[in-house]
């Protein structure tokens, strides 16, 4: 059970993501942005951070890194991919997921323990949750506002591809101005998931608001073991 974690110049949470994989029973494999080589991993995590300094647009330059030349076709072919925060931005820039992430509507960087509702518990990364389950994990971003045109938003909702939604505050606001309170989405096949909050910071007693992040990693480990058993 090998899960690759990509390091781009400016990635911050690659070590935490690798540690979360290990904590949950998987083997983390480092993947380098400059190598178009996925090293035979069973799944890939694009971690948080500020790849290429977030220059141009968040994730825009990372999209064209050599590792993405290997990753994009693999993801289109069914390889499970999780994009966390900057990784989510890379996935939208790569057109593996629809929409885009723009600057928070209130213009401030956010760092909070965030309540989310899991809406789709059938993806490769969420099968250990239950639909409707509420989880609390860390959210930290400056450009986390999910936007897409109305038709795309309707399609995402209609096809059950909104995986996570922010629990809005008393005023009905979410932490970054995301349309329809969307925190994370998946592709049609359910193997590619992107979200702004950080499950890898909520896997270990004493660190983070909960252990709710573990479900992401245990889901993918189980699914990979099952698909290996069925192969």
């Amino acid at each position: 059970m090998k899960i690759g974690v990509v390091t781009f110049p400016g990635s911050l949470d690659d070590r935490d993501a690798a540690r979360a994989v290990s904590e949950c029973g998987g083997e983390a494999i480092s993947l380098w942005h400059g190598d178009a080589d996925l090293k035979g991993v069973d799944a890939v995590i694009l971690p948080g951070g500020f790849s290429y300094g977030d220059y141009l647009r968040c994730g825009a330059i990372a999209r064209f890194a050599p590792v993405m030349e290997a990753l994009v076709p693999a993801a289109q072919g069914g390889l499970p991919v999780l994009g966390i925060c900057n990784g989510f931005q890379v996935l939208t820039e790569s057109h593996l997921l629809p929409g885009a992430l723009i600057r928070n509507d209130h213009r401030k960087f956010n760092c909070v323990d965030q309540r989310l509702v899991v809406e789709n518990a059938t993806t490769a990364w969420t099968s250990d949750f239950e639909a409707g389950q509420e989880i609390t994990i860390v959210l930290k971003n400056g450009e986390g506002g999910f936007v897409a045109d109305e038709r795309t938003l309707d399609t995402l909702e209609g096809e059950g591809r909104v995986v996570f939604r922010y629990v809005p505050d008393a005023e009905g606001r979410n932490p970054n101005g995301s349309y329809r309170h969307i925190a994370g989405i998946t592709n049609e096949r359910g193997n590619v998931v992107g979200l702004m909050p950080h499950p890898e910071h909520a896997v270990e007693e004493g660190f983070g608001p909960s252990l709710d992040g573990r479900g992401f990693f245990t889901s993918i480990i189980k699914q990979t073991l099952e698909s290996a058993a069925n192969a």
Binding site: R57, A60, I61, A100, R107
Partner: protein, 100 residues
């Protein structure tokens, strides 16, 4: 040595928090006549020799693939700078308008 200017703007329907921040600062400096501010990006691509149609074609392709994200942004124009280094401003009528 010639140059090509690419202008990119957020689509009108996309919220522009940076433009809003600038718009909020203007009245504090006494500029009261502006009802809205939208902030965009300008890229200047320099080539060896004169700008050719091939350069412009490549610049348009780069504008659509890397310089802009078509989900949230429009390529407003892709055009050659004239020899004086000015892009012609308001007087330029042969501007290449690549708005989609």
């Amino acid at each position: 040595m010639g140059s090509i200017v690419v202008d990119v703007m957020l689509k009108p329907e996309i919220l522009d928090p940076q433009g809003q921040a600038v718009g909020g600062a203007l009245p504090r400096l006494g500029f009261n006549g502006f009802t809205d501010v939208r902030q965009g990006k300008r890229f200047v691509l320099t080539v060896e020799g004169d700008v050719t149609d091939a350069h412009l074609d490549a610049a348009r392709e780069a504008a659509e693939t890397l310089l802009s994200n078509p989900v949230i942004e429009d390529v407003v124009s892709v055009r050659a700078l004239d020899e004086s280094g000015s892009d012609g401003g308001d007087e330029q009528d042969d501007e290449q308008d690549d708005a989609q």
